[in-house]
Symmetry: C2
Subunit: 338 residues, 2 copies
DNA sequence: CTGAAAGCGCTAACAG
DNA sequence: CTGTTAGCGCTTTCAG
């Protein structure tokens, strides 16, 4: 059906090897033959078969991307970044959604590993040893997760949390609740650490409300405990949780930000659309995907050296102040508050 | 690095072909040798190289999926459905996001076509002739779009709109506004048709407010015109638009549903989270992805016959009544309303 | 600078 | 039931 390299060779009156060279190492071939070959290729609509090429070069020109759940708006953003950058480099992207199933994750990765040059893994759950094992014989870049010796793109969770706390303290809050994500989540743990450090530095109290699903429902579930904690502000594991919080608070007749301020993390599109609009720490999700691709491609071009192994890109978050910590909630002039 | 079929053959003391057979046509090989081969394969962690296999069988075991914009929550759902079903059949999925760029779409499709057995296209924008041309020499299944002679999975837009109108009419609405999507959108056109037909049947008036971007911003832009139309209810092109509408109405102090009722289409996750929760027509997005895979796989197994070419799966929507058309808006007992 | 030959990992005849 | 042979489409020595 599709034209092969030999069809082009015949039409151009040269050998297959010349076609191959003319197309992938233009400099090494006579200008006129090159032109002839290119014309022939054009005419036939020839495009090299990547699979066949990969068989011999050991490079497929494809990369794999594994995400836990596309329904969480965080991940489509990362995927978009990966896509865009991959396309720039003319590499195709295999996508796998593990549905938050750490076991499936490993299986999928193994299956994919055979037909790609490298893998980008957003795997909050998978076992650290398994990740290390996979990284041992495949090019792997981790996103939003750190494992010894594996290149990764992460977010500066500590810094983001510091900004959130500073903002809340400036508004007069002295007791702040933290609604954490899943127990096993790497980023939840790091956000927690940053929060405690910042709270300590500012001399304010942080109350840990517990671990919840990283979803709208998780936020609904956490809301009552957050209220009961007596805090005047809540920081949620992510925006989805924060929005769940908002919903439950509204249902209970608790006004945000007047009665309670809420801060999320991620800055998903939905955050601007919630009522009230959500103050959140914007994470450059798309950028993370782009950088992951660059890192991966660098590893593929030049595997092994220490310049890359262990490399990490750290991206900084940026506080987006919106209505959920609005001025109405300024407690600096309210003597009744502790 | 990775074990090849010959490594397994050597370890099992058989020939490469026997390994190949033992693994892919187990019935045709002696039970004891088969066991030996399987053990060897296991021990070496052998997995066949799909690219090499594809070279000879002409089947890659991969499919391609093209979507216009992952940031629109509609598409991640479809992708999830495709993923899940593809995994069941042990096929891998290439994903491409065209960023709403119809031109890029074609280029991407051509590039992908070489390394997949078939393509699932969610291409609201691409030119009809181009789609037909692509479908002529590649297995293609369209989602949410109909082109002569190309298998497709679509939604019953007319039926969905009929449900929406029936609901609004039952609540006493007699003048309903329609906020359409992009001019070139296939589904916007069909939704419009369904709406007019239903309005006509019920003897109520439908006001076309115009075409808007299928986004939150589009909804914001449409809100004032919807209000000015004098309608008591609005049907929006999709949920994102409806939620934009809600935001702008709120900003203007117009209460939903008391002053104006709003209905969306899609039932994205966000719809349950908006305030008020959005009444919408639920489209089985994930199911659409699953069916698209089944259709595509059927075409691949058995290309050409008329049983498939021209086949279409039509999925029906389901009205989800929520607060944005709440009881408070019941106009049946309100004599002041027309 | 170009052609011929070899072979990537695998499967499909074809013998045995 | 199993081994041998050939070759998918391509790149890469190796000669010329």
């Amino acid at each position: 059906m599709a034209a092969t390299i030999r069809d082009v060779a015949r039409l151009a009156g040269v050998s297959a090897s010349t076609v191959s060279r003319a197309l992938s190492m233009p400099g090494v071939v006579n200008a006129t033959t090159r032109a002839r070959v290119q014309a022939a290729a054009e005419q036939l609509g020839y495009a090299p078969n990547k699979a066949a090429r990969g068989l011999i070069t050991g490079r497929t020109g494809n990369i794999g991307l594994v995400v836990p759940d596309l329904a969480n708006p965080f991940f489509p953003s990362v995927v978009k970044g990966v896509q865009a950058r991959a396309r720039m480099h003319d590499v195709a992207v295999f996508l796998a959604d593990t549905d938050e199933d750490a076991a499936a994750e490993v299986g999928l990765v193994l299956a994919l590993a055979k037909q790609v040059d490298g893998l980008i893994l957003c795997s909050p759950r998978a076992d650290e040893d398994e990740l290390a094992a996979i990284a041992a014989d495949t090019n792997v870049v981790l996103v939003n997760r750190l494992v010894e010796g594996v290149p990764a793109v992460t977010f500066d969770n500590e810094g983001g949390m510091r900004q959130a706390i500073a903002h809340l303290v400036a508004l007069g809050h002295r007791k702040i609740a933290w609604v954490g994500g899943p127990k096993t989540s790497w980023s939840s743990a790091h956000r927690s650490i940053g929060l405690y450090a910042a709270a300590h530095d500012h001399g304010v109290k942080l109350v840990d409300v517990g671990h919840f699903a990283p979803t709208y429902e998780g936020g609904m579930a956490a809301a009552d405990q957050a209220v009961a904690s007596g805090a005047t502000a809540v920081v949620a594991y992510n925006d989805l949780v924060a929005i769940g919080l908002l919903a439950r608070l509204h249902a209970r007749g608790i006004t945000v930000p007047d009665d309670l301020s809420v801060v999320g993390i991620d800055d998903i599109a939905m955050s601007r659309m919630s009522r009230p609009a959500l103050t959140t720490v914007r994470l450059p999700k798309q950028r993370a995907g782009e950088i992951a691709v660059e890192l991966l491609l660098a590893m593929i071009d030049d595997p092994d050296p220490d310049t890359i192994i262990g490399t990490r890109g750290t991206l900084h978050g940026e506080l987006m102040v919106r209505d959920s910590t609005g001025l109405a909630a300024d407690r600096t002039s309210d003597p009744a508050r502790p």
